[in-house]
């Protein structure tokens, strides 16, 4: 089943990663922006309910819904995700627990099997549950794994933006992409668009748009994310509802016992 790999809750982390006040003035300013944003936009926890719609080139739609609970931030976060729709994946759960210096421990609960399964780190090129996102697209952007440089300013949806070119370093593992262009809103330093270039591509192969930016519990977050596969012509739209940050988490929420608890979180 496709839903055996589900780190979808990291998406909002991508959104808040790149927000910080800064006054870039030199060529290495791109790195400075990324460093500052990472330091500033930490949240203790995050909860939301997500819905995604995948629309194929011929207009056919697929929908999925889930709930996500994160405690901690970035490489130190615990995460629980529970799918709520469609019926075929309802109840499927994913738990990720951090381990210092290593990939997180990951488990999947499949109601049809009535048991949890430890799973390995995923192939970054795999499609995420049949959407236009690949697993690499869901990873938090670790700028240390990229060579970055600042390009000329552009405007996205009427907002002036910094544009940063990020090329993955070879030692950071194989990437799907030759380069990424990051568009940061100048007023918030918030990521509002990312163009993804496949190897040898002059035009982006995919484009991620982050829209409907709101302030929730003192943190900026985009409530709508759209990934367009410009080659296949398909689109995936993710909407986040009931967002909450820095809330206390019930004891035992991020445990294997809770993962296998049917009808629970």
């Amino acid at each position: 089943m496709s839903s055996r790999r589900i780190p979808l809750a990291v998406l909002p982390a991508v959104l808040v990663l790149l927000a910080a006040p800064a006054r870039p003035a030199r060529a290495d300013e791109a790195r400075d922006l990324l460093v500052q944003s990472e330091a500033r936009h930490r949240t203790k926890s995050q909860e939301y309910e997500g819905d995604l719609v995948v629309t194929s080139k011929d207009g056919k739609e697929r929908k999925k819904s889930w709930k996500s609970y994160r405690f901690g931030y970035a490489g130190d976060s615990k995460m629980l995700i529970r799918f709520t729709a469609p019926p075929e994946v309802k109840g499927v759960g994913y738990l990720s627990l951090p381990r210092a210096g290593k990939n997180p421990d990951q488990w999947l609960y499949l109601p049809s099997m009535k048991r949890e399964r430890r799973i390995a780190a995923q192939d970054r090129s795999a499609s995420f549950v049949g959407t236009d996102f690949n697993y690499e697209d869901l990873e938090e952007l670790d700028h240390e794994k990229y060579d970055v440089k600042l390009l000329a300013d552009e405007t996205v949806a009427g907002q002036p933006c910094w544009v940063i070119e990020a090329r993955p370093r070879s030692e950071a593992g194989k990437s799907l992409y030759e380069k990424k262009l990051l568009f940061l809103r100048k007023d918030l330093l918030f990521l509002v668009r990312m163009d993804l270039f496949l190897p040898g591509g002059r035009e982006p192969g995919k484009r991620l748009l982050l829209e409907d930016v709101v302030l929730v519990d003192g943190h900026h977050v985009a409530r709508r994310m759209t990934m367009k596969d410009l080659t296949k012509g398909s689109t995936t739209v993710i909407r986040l509802e009931k967002l909450a940050f820095d809330r206390l988490q019930p004891e035992g929420r991020h445990t294997l016992q809770n993962l296998v608890r049917e009808g629970g979180d």
């Binding site: 496709s2 019926p87 099997m113 009535k114 799973i119 499609s127 049949g130 009808g263």
Partner: protein, 404 residues
């Protein structure tokens, strides 16, 4: 009282289920009375409610109809009848979280134990419904269960006061063939005495995670759910185009213990299990079962490999012991998700007689709720093996399923 104590309206209440129609087309048959085509319809409804933050309820009922085959009772709440009933209860449990990481459940539920895929000795004894021998459908249990976690250690204790027996295949050359003929006529088994278990079993499983390693140990004691068959050749009789051989069923006591291991190694998950099973019943004997398995994802596909065997001989043909019939065997599964749906290929190779089963399943998702499926099951090889013994089960199948 419960309703007064719990503000139920404030918590989630959901209904879900599916309606499915499927058809089978068989490539062979030994008797003219066995149909070439069989239709099967199923409707299942599930209700779940969170009565309070620490109290959850679920119930699931199934209605079925099929064009060929035997049935005895209209409703079988315990699944203890020899034949599958048109109406049955799949789940009916109440779960109470007595602590943040401790739950107590009572009612009817299904278990899924073990780590290895394809075959797990921790899971293999659990009752199956072999009405369709290639479907690997588990039967739910009536019982009590306590599960919990403290730190890295988890426990799972189950008590089943009254055992649910395996539902063995219907007696026919297609589903339960006998490798013998009398005067040129095929021999079929018929239901004899069925001494249903009057007791159940209890089991405890402990699990822990240490870095890349998941380890576990389990033990159980009680009545083994799979029957032991005793045929009565002296009471054989002629029934039209076949010789009928009555077979009695009885249930033996068995004690068992096992260990489980799982390790993450890069992109692979390696799994292994070992189990020792003891019975003083001469018709069952002891067993030492081991399995090793590996799993890895390749893009949108997943490969699962499992090798399983019993290091001890069996006092009777393993085919007659049901949960050990497959051993030794190698199982390979390749499953892949596509934009249009998914497909799956399963190859099970018996290593005792060289027989096996090749299955391919394809599911096309017309919408999020509607899926069409196609598949083939091809048993092959020696007639002495669990798969080769059923050449009449070569078949193609097609189905449509609407979920809500």
């Amino acid at each position: 009282m419960l309703a007064l104590a719990c503000p139920a309206a404030a918590y989630a209440q959901t209904w879900s289920g599916f309606v499915e129609a499927k058809g089978f087309a068989y490539a062979e048959r030994s008797l003219p009375r066995e149909p070439w085509l069989v239709g099967w319809g199923t409707a299942q409804l599930t209700f779940e409610e969170r009565l309070a933050p620490s109290l959850r309820l679920a119930a699931s009922a199934r209605a079925e109809g099929w064009s060929a085959g035997e049935r005895d009772v209209f409703l079988d709440l315990a699944d203890r009848d020899l034949r599958r009933a048109p109406f049955s209860l799949r789940e009916a449990w109440l779960s109470w979280s007595v602590a943040p990481t401790v739950d107590v459940e009572a009612g009817r539920f299904q278990l899924g134990w073990g780590k290895t895929d394809g075959y797990s000795p921790a899971d293999a004894f659990l009752p199956r419904d072999l009405t369709d021998p290639f479907a690997d459908e588990k039967l739910p249990l009536w019982g009590l269960r306590a599960r919990g976690q403290t730190g890295a250690l988890r426990f799972d204790g189950v008590f089943v006061p009254l055992g649910t027996p395996w539902r063995v295949p219907v007696s026919s050359p297609r589903f339960a063939p006998v490798d013998a003929t009398v005067a040129g006529l095929p021999v079929v088994l018929a239901d004899g005495e069925n001494d249903l278990p009057r007791a159940g079993w209890g089991a405890l499983r402990l699990l822990a995670t240490f870095g890349d390693w998941d380890v576990g140990a389990w033990g159980r004691t009680g009545i083994r759910p799979a029957p032991l068959l005793t045929v009565r050749p002296d009471e054989a009789y002629l029934d039209g185009d076949a010789v009928v051989l009555p077979a009695d069923r009885r249930y033996a006591r068995e004690e068992a213990g096992g260990v489980e291991l799982s390790r993450v190694t890069g992109s692979w998950i390696l799994r292994a299990e070992g189990a020792a099973l003891f019975s003083t019943d001469a018709g069952l004997g002891d067993a030492l079962i081991w399995t090793v398995g590996a799993e890895r994802a390749f893009g949108d596909g997943t490969l699962l490999l499992t090798l399983a065997a019993n290091a001890r001989g069996t006092p009777v043909d393993p085919l007659l012991l049901f949960d050990r019939a497959l051993l030794p065997a190698f199982v390979a599964v390749w499953q892949r998700t596509e934009r249009w749906g998914s497909w799956r290929a399963v190859w099970t190779q018996g290593l005792r007689h060289g027989d096996g089963l090749a299955k391919v399943e394809l599911s096309w998702s017309a919408t999020d709720a509607l899926a069409l499926s196609l598949g083939v099951d091809v048993p092959y090889g020696s007639r002495y093996g669990p798969f080769g013994a059923r050449p009449d089960l070569k078949r193609a199948r097609a189905g449509v399923r609407w979920s809500f």
